[in-house]
Symmetry: C2
Subunit: 145 residues, 2 copies
């Protein structure tokens, strides 16, 4: 390895992807804390991203987020304690409970969208909207393959 380290010649793509990702997260979840939701953490996005307006089953949320039911149950439990979601029995299936956003949860959902858009607008301001659109296009392309 001589005198070099991994990042000396050329940063790995993983490194380059992680940096803006973590910055976005800091901005969005910092903003959420500033808006009065300090107990919402990045992991909770797994819930907010997929939850349906009528309520979602724990199992469905876990599957959509690509994690175990147990892990999702842990996240939902935290959100329920904070009053962001409430669970109710599923009238269609006695085994299941439906997890649904409360009014407070919907405010977080709105804030998440607004803060994401703001963070993205800041990037557009820095590198130009064309450059950002290009980035989006390549990442969408990558997501498909």
């Amino acid at each position: 390895m001589s005198e070099r380290n991994i990042t000396a010649d050329r940063r790995t793509l993983g490194f380059l992807l992680r940096q803006p990702y973590e910055r976005l997260q800091r901005e969005v979840y910092g903003g959420l804390a500033a808006r009065g939701f300090p107990d919402i953490r990045p992991a909770h996005s797994a819930v907010f991203r997929h939850i349906a307006a009528r309520g979602s089953r724990l199992t469905a949320l876990a599957e959509q987020a690509g994690m175990t039911k147990q892990s999702m149950a842990y996240l939902v439990e935290g959100l329920a304690e904070g009053g962001y979601v409430a669970t109710a029995p599923d009238p269609q299936d006695g085994r299941a409970r439906l997890v649904k956003l409360t009014a407070r949860g919907r405010r977080v959902w709105d804030a998440l969208i607004a803060l994401s858009a703001e963070a993205e607008a800041r990037i557009a301001a820095r590198v130009g909207p064309a450059r950002l659109a290009e980035l989006r296009a390549i990442l969408e392309e990558l997501a498909e393959g």
Copy 2:
């Protein structure tokens, strides 16, 4: 929020960045496991990325990785148990110890570089080298600002 969820209209940039990042990580650390290093986890990259050939201080590694000394000590401890790094007193400073890659650690370092390059080559094969270069360029630009 009507019938939609966050990802319905337009995926957040954070979501788009996370996907390829996690895929890369799976590929690289899966490949590392296949090459006989199953105990090297993504978090260990914080050590491999910055460690100097002559050895690095724990404090320096922690600072470069942007984490606490305690967290870095935990990572280094795991690597030392696996025989990837060894620590020795710093002759220049009696308080300090130098963390250095062993021969086995250098093999991991080499594998990390090779696997990262391979993963990147697979992306180039999928979207074209020009597209990948564009992605890199935008991400480098983002990293500066």
